[in-house]
Amino acid sequence: MVYHWLGFRPGAEGRHQHGKEGLTRMDFGARRAVSLAGIILPFLYLVGTVRADESGLRVDYDPPQLSVEARAESLGAVLRAIGAKVGFSVVETAPSSKVVTLSIRNASLDDVLRQLLRAKNHAMIYRVVGSPSAESGPIDRIVLFGDSVTATAAVAPPGGSSRDPRQAQDHGDAGAKTVLLAGPTSPQSWPESTPFLNPAPVDTSDPAAPPISVGEMLQAHAMAAAQGGQLAGTGANLPAPPQPASSTPPANLDAALAETTRRAQQALGTLIDGLATATRSLQQSLPAGRK
């Protein structure tokens, strides 16, 4: 069967045409082929091993001890590797540009996940054992929401104290403040028109205005959101929240499958290339007329 793969068919043809000499040549060619196969197959195996090492990801799980070595791997890949050993799945609702390099030895799963996920948008969903209020079971899946975003204040009001916003208010320049928010990178996870981008205008232009009250603060919160929000009875204009991960497959599932398929094709392509090289080598080693 290997010979068919290599495009070389020792056998009857040689014997009919060349008799004993042909048999000798056949035996010689077969031995060469077996020898080459013996060289090539371990080589291909080694190539695979090297590739695994080059991936820079190794997970060892000896419950409850977990060791993880990762070098410039995506967070999703690291978590998937851990999940394969521990028993949870990973869902990415948005791609992340973050790469992970870490080395953790003999830590608990909690510690590892804390280090990996502390600053990441995510959710860990646990299996429920028995009734819903009974003790939770192990992690069922981890949902990654994509890159984090940060909120920053863009303008410091001239003449206003950085410590006392009421002072700025008294100076009547609070209205000039602008709040910028990096756009969410995950439209699957966050509303497209984050109301916070356009906080409700707060009338602070009157120097005699009283200090802000709790009520005004609450209303500012609520109305800021309402500007892009959903008004019951008037039609929703706030983008619907993402559906629970359990009921809706991630939007990039197709992309993930395509990527997996692409990598499988690459691996298969490497194998075929190796076999083709072996075939050429065999053909070149044979006497003229046998090719």
Partner: protein, 240 residues
Amino acid sequence: MVDGREPSCPEAPSEAATDAIARQNPSGSPVVFPEHWLAHELLDGLTGLEIGAASYNPFGLTTRNVASPEGAEFYAEEQRAMGVEPAPVDIWAMGDRIPVPDRSEDFILSSHVLEHLPNVIAAFLEWDRIVRDHGYVFMIVPLKGALPQDTERELTPLAHFVECYRSGWTLDTHPTDGVPGGRMGHYHTFSPDSLTDVVDWMRANGLSDWELVAREDVDSKVGNGFTLVFRVKHTNSPPA
């Protein structure tokens, strides 16, 4: 009232506040925000407490509403001003002193409440007492600039939260200088990282053992806060 000012939490919205609502919600239609898929994902089927529930910001979970008696009428009026009936109150209590048994709830949920508590660590300890093992503390906290008056404030450092705790500060004793709204106003500002630091500090000091199980840097409910969800573990003490 440490600073001698009157509480700025009135019994009813000020005229200016009412005008602001009228300007910003001229239709007068009820304002109701969507529920939160993440809360449903984690908390459906469980029973818990919601601190400071508001009808215009529903979660659709099985909860009892804990509301502060101080300023209650104000908060009720504030909800009516949004065009909705106030959420019924089940337990009258401050968010950091809730009269329920130890480990009696599956979760505690709060949305835009934490910034109004003068002693965050004390509140967390109270919530840790109430939530059963492997239950949840689910919080949505305003982004630092959600309130314009918070934008220029410094992010409250961990050392301040620790000082609040060690000093035993309460509504009556926490300084209100620089606090927008004064008493019961925005005592502190937060980021997801700074609040996680508080929880980590509590763990490091043996006060609690909470595991971060969800984080949204921008909450997917309304979008002007961030979400942190912790799973409570009572590893060092037996159940009550």
